[in-house]
């Protein structure tokens, strides 16, 4: 990120903060905390009281934009879409809501669908809508038929509006509990989509509140999503180094995270799995990275406490939980084994989920206690019982242009490709050589002995060993410690390759190794593949003599790797960044 971009980003955040300052007035707090009956009372004072539907309630085409023809007659160019009356509005959403009465998955999906309707039009809304539709079709393939059957039944007119369901102050708890009750795969999908949707709603709601137009509209799942968004937002301010704002948000953050855990959601495990599942595809969203970052932040703060202090804090907190009946002795033991702070929180969520009978008041208190436990780690100083205090390391300002990795670890068996090795040359044939021997089809159809007769054998890239850390994706080959691949991904999706060596792999396999390593980590470069810090004679000559960069072997290796990923370079350039000279392959 350039200094100018960083400055612009800070200015944008400052401007957002200024806008948010207006939300901290006494009036705005009263408005925010207003009960439904208070709101209705205010609405009733309006002598022009209206249903809220612009221009009317029925299908009267009340919003119309028309143009005047040359003869003065009106021609409608746009109008509000006419809606069916409620009694006839039998769609999959209604059927879903009905199913939701006794099916928690359907209930969560119907809440998400309802939430989606309230979102502003845009890609986030479209993505969420598509995701809900796909999940609904997958889980309830007969939903459409159910909806049609219901529309013909006598129950239709007694169907409550979705907006009338689940409108209580503590819906974050019940909605969270329902999410926590789902199978882990479903939890992961819901948390992922809810977080993305929640961030959108959180921002919209803050704006709407400022206008005073909508009050108290966030309920149920919306609250869960907004809690997630508050957690992500806190992290975002920490990352950009806005300590003042982060400090102001710390209490909200603790409460939001406390409420999420009390409802039984294993947030950090879920987000990690979600990030792992979707990798770096286009759906990878910043709020998810922020949640991962906040997890890392909490773990780092926790790790700075001396081990004895960690144990003391952990068991002091757990003894409270035990005394309150939130966790049993077995739960204390399970949580006690957790080392990372996020593991403690996820374990706690699991224990809380098992203890389902809780009053609203006790859940509120519990959320507060967890919030305090977390809040200690976000304080500027950690007080120690024996006196003195620790000042944990500041959340380092980490360059925003770099994605925190959530890549993959373990083994990866490369995709099988028709490769042919010439053992005498330790070289895999290239396309031209394959053509010379009659083409790929012909070689593929040959038996092993026929191939051996012409000095060839089939070849498969060995199993890759994958590793990942906060910022890098890595790959190597089992049994060949000389082969390695090390890269990172920028904010705009460009892949920066820093280290590569094919080690003892045959010649001709470099591009396959790169392509398979990227595939293994589910990383597809966007815009650019950057080959960092090039110190290589052929490239140096190309630069010095103005030769075409695309003709160097290095460029050709990059091009072949991209081709295997279905990508095509548009052009090549050299960039100088600090002491580094980089070869940039731009993508079409």
């Amino acid at each position: 990120m350039t200094n100018t971009e960083r400055k612009e980003k800070r200015e944008q955040l400052h401007s957002d903060n200024v806008a948010k300052d207006s939300l901290r007035t006494t009036d705005s707090h009263q408005i925010r905390n207003a009960r439904t009956d208070e709101i209705k009372a205010v609405h009733n004072l309006n002598i022009n009281a209206h249903s809220g539907s612009s221009g009317g309630d029925s299908d009267d085409g009340s919003i119309q934009i028309f143009a005047l023809n040359q003869d003065g007659s009106k021609k409608i160019v746009a109008e509000r879409q006419k809606t069916r009356s409620q009694s006839n509005a039998f769609d999959s959403g209604v059927a879903l809501a009905l199913k939701g009465k006794d099916n928690p998955v359907a209930h969560v999906l119907s809440l998400l669908k309802e939430h989606c309707k309230k979102m502003l039009p845009g890609p986030e809304k479209e993505n969420l809508s598509r995701s809900i539709k796909e999940q609904t079709q997958e889980i309830f393939p007969n939903l459409k038929a159910d909806a049609e059957r219901f529309s013909q039944s006598d129950n239709a007119d007694s169907m409550p509006a979705l907006s009338e369901t689940k409108q209580t102050e503590h819906d974050w708890f019940s909605a969270g509990q329902e999410i926590a009750a789902l199978p882990i795969e479903k939890q992961v999908q819901i948390i992922g989509t809810a977080l993305i949707a929640g961030m959108e709603q959180y921002r919209n709601d803050e704006q709407e509140r400022r206008w005073g137009a909508v009050i108290g509209s966030i309920q149920g799942l919306g609250n869960v999503a907004v809690n997630l968004s508050k957690i992500a937002d806190f992290s975002a301010y920490c990352i950009i180094g806005d300590e003042e704002r982060a400090g102001e948000m710390a209490k909200d953050f603790g409460t939001a995270l406390g409420q999420t855990i009390v409802s039984g959601v294993k947030l950090f495990g879920c987000v990690q799995k979600y990030s792992y599942d979707i990798g770096y595809s286009g759906d990878y969203q910043k709020p998810l990275r922020d949640i991962l970052a906040v997890g890392n932040f909490l773990n780092e703060q926790w790790s700075q406490l001396p081990p004895r202090e960690q144990e003391r804090r952990k068991y002091e907190f757990l003894s409270q939980m035990l005394a309150d009946g939130i966790v049993g002795a077995a739960g204390v033991q399970a949580i006690g084994k957790s080392k990372a702070f996020t593991e403690i929180l996820d374990q706690l969520a699991e224990q809380v989920a098992q203890n389902s009978a809780k009053s609203i008041e006790s859940t509120r208190k519990l959320a507060g206690k967890i919030g305090n436990f977390i809040g200690d780690l976000t304080s500027p100083e950690l007080a120690l019982p024996a006196g003195g205090s620790l000042k944990p390391g500041r959340f380092e300002q980490i360059e925003e242009q770099v994605l925190r990795m959530a890549g993959r670890s373990g083994e990866y068996i490369p995709e099988r490709k028709p490769l042919f090795l010439s053992p005498s040359q330790n070289k895999v044939l290239n396309g031209r050589e394959v053509d010379t021997l009659g083409g790929l089809q012909k070689l593929e159809n040959m038996s092993d002995s026929d191939l051996a007769a012409i000095g060839l054998k089939r070849y498969e890239l060995p199993t890759l060993k994958l590793e990942t850390d906060e910022f890098s994706i890595k790959a190597s080959i089992f049994g060949d410690n000389k082969a390695w691949f090390h890269a990172s991904v920028t904010e705009n999706g460009a892949v920066v390759l820093r280290y590569i060596s094919k080690g003892r792999l045959p010649d001709g396999t470099g591009s396959h190794f790169i392509a398979e390593a990227l595939k293994a980590h589910n990383v597809i470069p966007k815009h650019q593949l950057v080959l960092q810090n090039i110190i290589n004679e052929e490239t140096a000559n190309a630069i010095k003599n103005g030769f075409k960069l695309e003709n160097t072997k290095l460029s050709r290796m990059g091009t072949k790797a991209l081709k295997e990923l279905g990508l095509k370079p548009s052009h090549f350039s050299i960039e100088r960044m600090g002491v580094n000279t980089n070869l940039v392959i731009w993508l079409e």
Binding site: E396, D507, I534, E538
Partner: protein
């Protein structure tokens, strides 16, 4: 220039927690023509931190291991980073590998001789 000008505090802590292991064998980075050992690159280091460590590897390669830098590379900039890091006493295991063993030297020369064949 002090330590924090080269590395942010977080990265410096990671680097200085590395433990030198003389039994390790080097890897060759074909992009930048230097050797690097596994105990020289901490996990979770930021990309900026990796780039500075890479610059130290480049400097070590041409100052001690015999790498000839192409014309387009500004050797003085790399040397400056090396000098700053050593002056500040950064505890990086890579400073223990100024002289290559015969085996490592043979491996490095073999890799350098391959030149662009690395990219085939």
């Amino acid at each position: 220039m002090n330590k924090n000008d080269l590395f942010i505090e977080r990265d410096l802590k990671l680097i200085e927690s590395l433990v030198y292991d003389p039994s390790l064998k080097p890897r060759f980075n074909a992009l930048s023509s230097f050797l690097m050992w596994e105990d020289e690159l901490p996990i979770n280091i930021t990309p900026n931190g990796i780039d500075t460590l890479s610059a130290l590897c480049v400097a070590r390669a041409f100052l001690f291991h015999g790498l000839k830098l192409p014309d387009h590379i500004n050797a003085a900039s790399f040397k400056q980073i090396w000098d700053n890091a050593t002056d500040e006493g950064i505890r990086w295991p890579g400073f223990n590998r100024l002289n290559l063993s015969d085996e490592d030297s043979a491996f490095y020369n073999e890799m350098l001789a391959l030149g662009d064949k690395h990219f085939e």
